[in-house]
Amino acid sequence: MSVAGINVLVEETRALQAPLLDVRGVSAYYGSIQALKGVDLHVKEGEIVALIGANGAGKSTLMMTIFGQPQARTGSITYAGRDITRMATHEIARLNIAQSPEGRRIFSRMSVRENLQMGAALHGGRYFAEDLERMCVLFPRLKERLDQRGGTMSGGEQQMLAIARALMSRPRLLMLDEPSLGLAPLIVKQIFSAVRDLNEREGLTVFIVEQNAYHALKLAHRGYVMVTGAVTMSGTGRELLDNPQVKAAYLEGGQH
């Protein structure tokens, strides 16, 4: 084996060991209000990581900060060995990070198919037909509605569309912001099982932000708990589920 080949191999193993996404000491502000106070967390390749926390804890802010808007004021964000702390949102997206943002943000006047096309724009639509097929298998409900306008679909369908649109860019890391918000338990189950499938079959790395702590922690390999802009606890999904503090704060009111 040549020296160059060994070098590549060394690089690759190092990349495998280093987390895919590494957030270190990140703080972010809205004007003068500090929303993130030195957040540390990481996501390794192939993992599902959940971030749970109460409303207003800063979960969505963290997700958007990873996406460069608002940009982190201190700390660093590394993705696949690259420092993305100061990159523009669209450039970050082009590194194969996809997101289903808070509130879904689908294009409501456009048809489902067109929404998916927007997701595939990153590759110039090269894999569109093939990926459309995959999405139809993953979310059969979308298949029946390809020509329906996005805005006329139910909340659950819109959430599926938001995830499918994100997946159309063939991401390495998928970030989901509260995919279960406002959805019927059955739909939540469908969506979460689709995410688990993607992770198990295709090795997709997933970072999921949720208020629905029970489902998220059951799904995730590891989890973090965020309170007012800082990570206060972390552990495997099981550990956090069994943790009395987590139970008291986030799992009261039954395991829906």
Binding site: F67, Q69, A88, T89, H90, E91, A93, R94, A98, Q99, P101, R105, I106, F107, S108, R109, M110, S111, R113, E114, Q117, M118, G119, A121, L122, G124, G125, L146, D147, Q148, R149, T152, R165, S169
Partner: protein, 450 residues
């Protein structure tokens, strides 16, 4: 269990019946307000009495009649509106109706546009007689083109541009100056005018496209005015308020429309007719407008055009899908400006005269009104709106009989703006989303088997 089964039916019945009492109450409220207004205004009348002094007569009957009229009108209006809302809700996948209308209107409009000079000749007796109609056709098509151009910016990309006429001016002055100063022909100037206008679009776009909604509108409005004021005040460059006259006429790709032996008519063995140029101008603007339309339709199917539409809906989502929103906006702005530039140079060659007065804010407003009335993004809607907005006032000019009604001094043309206003209000009430409000998807399944 028996009681349980009746509940849903009762509930449905209640839901069905519930609007009426609400409507009556609402109409009653309106009548009450009317009564309140009538008491001081209508109910007492003062007449001159027999002697000195005034006599008060009460008119409670009139008041009652007015209140009753308002009550009934409001009731009818509400019934109509709720009925319409319900009918709308019933045909949930709305796409059908509006797009079918568009599918019928588009070819008809196109055929009329293609054959207008012929139609005008046939209907009026001779080509010379048809001149008025061809002139009107040129005017309308200019606005159709401008509407389609602005539609890219406002209708597709959702950037509210109130200074669109500035790019029209840039195009017009480009041709006027290049032809009078450097003697360049129209066919060289036409693309140049488009390029200049697009360059101005980029120039304006860079600083302002970070702005949103209202702010963007205000800055573009100011930009439009600045261009006009520069044209007025920079006399050495633009001829000032007097404008630029004797701009060279259009040629048939080099052959002038003159009676001489090198002219268009002689070359093609036709007898000279001054109308040839006009007909040529008509088809020129028709082609230019159709090119604008085709480019827009084509763009909508390309990733960039789809990105414009997505941008209009959600900028943040666009960015997180890897779309560079600055470039996307800039291209929409520049492309829209380019078509205004083409239209501007056409304007200059048709008029053979340009002055800053042709490019005031009212023009921007009219073009924007065309886009908004047309339904923001609908191509055929914009065309129809241009016909209505530009052709409508022309109709007024011909309504001489109105003089008989309103007296000799009545000039229908003076009421143009008033009618614009009325049309706008009527639109807001009846079609708040424009004439053709349904967006047709840029992709559909080919096999729509049913």
């Amino acid at each position: 269990m028996a009681t349980g089964s009746t509940t849903p039916i009762a509930a449905t019945a209640r839901a069905e019946a519930s609007p009426l009492p609400g409507l009556i109450k609402d109409a009653g409220l309106f009548a009450l307000v009317t009564l309140g207004l009538c008491v001081p205004i209508v109910s007492y009348r003062t007449d001159l009495g027999q002697g000195i002094g005034l006599v008060i007569t009460t008119r409670w009957g009139t008041v009652l009649a007015l209140c009753a009229a308002i009550f009934v009108l409001r009731l009818v209006q509400q019934l109509y509106l709720t009925g319409r809302a319900r009918r709308r809700a019933a045909r949930a996948p709305v796409v059908e109706g509006a797009s079918r209308l568009a599918a019928i209107l588009a070819p008809i409009t196109l055929v009329i546009a293609l054959t207008l000079p012929l139609l005008a000749t046939l209907l009026t007796g001779s080509l010379g007689e048809g001149r008025y109609w061809i002139d009107l056709g040129i005017l309308i098509l200019t606005y159709v083109m401008l509407g389609w151009g602005l539609n890219i910016v406002v209708g597709l990309a959702g950037l509210l541009d109130l200074g669109y006429v500035a790019f029209y001016a840039v195009g017009a002055y480009s041709y006027a100056l290049l032809s009078t100063v450097f003697g360049l022909s129209f066919w060289i100037c036409l693309p140049l005018a488009g390029l200049f206008a697009a360059a101005f679009g980029v120039l304006l776009g860079f600083p302002v496209l970070r702005l949103r909604g209202d702010y963007l509108a205000i800055v573009t409005l100011a930009f439009g005015e600045i261009i006009r004021l520069v044209l007025i005040n920079w006399t050495d460059f633009s001829g000032g308020a007097a404008g630029i006259s004797s701009i060279p006429r259009v040629s048939f790709f080099g052959l002038p429309f003159t009676a001489g032996e090198n002219g268009f008519a002689a070359t093609f063995g036709l007898s000279f007719n001054a109308m040839h140029r006009l007909v040529f101008l008509y088809y020129l603007i028709l082609v230019l407008a159709l090119v604008t339309n085709l480019v827009t339709l084509r763009m909508r199917r390309l990733p960039l055009g789809r990105a414009w539409e997505a941008l209009r809906e959600d900028e943040i989502a666009c960015r997180s899908l890897g779309i560079d929103t600055t470039i996307t906006k800039l291209t929409a702005f520049a492309l829209g400006a380019m078509f205004a530039g083409f239209a501007g140079s056409f304007f200059a060659v048709r008029q053979a005269f340009v002055s800053p007065e042709s490019f005031n804010f009212l023009e921007s407003a009219i073009i924007l009104a065309i886009v908004v009335l047309g339904g923001m993004g609908s191509q055929i809607g914009v065309a129809i709106a241009a016909i209505v907005m530009i052709g409508g006032p022309e109709l007024l000019r011909n309504l001489g009989f109105l003089k008989a009604v309103f007296g000799e001094g009545f000039d229908p043309n003076e009421y143009r703006l008033l009618l614009f206003g009325l049309a706008m209000v009527a639109m807001m009430v009846f079609r708040p989303r424009g004439l053709i409000s349904e967006r047709t998807p840029s992709v559909t399944i080919a096999e729509r088997g049913r």
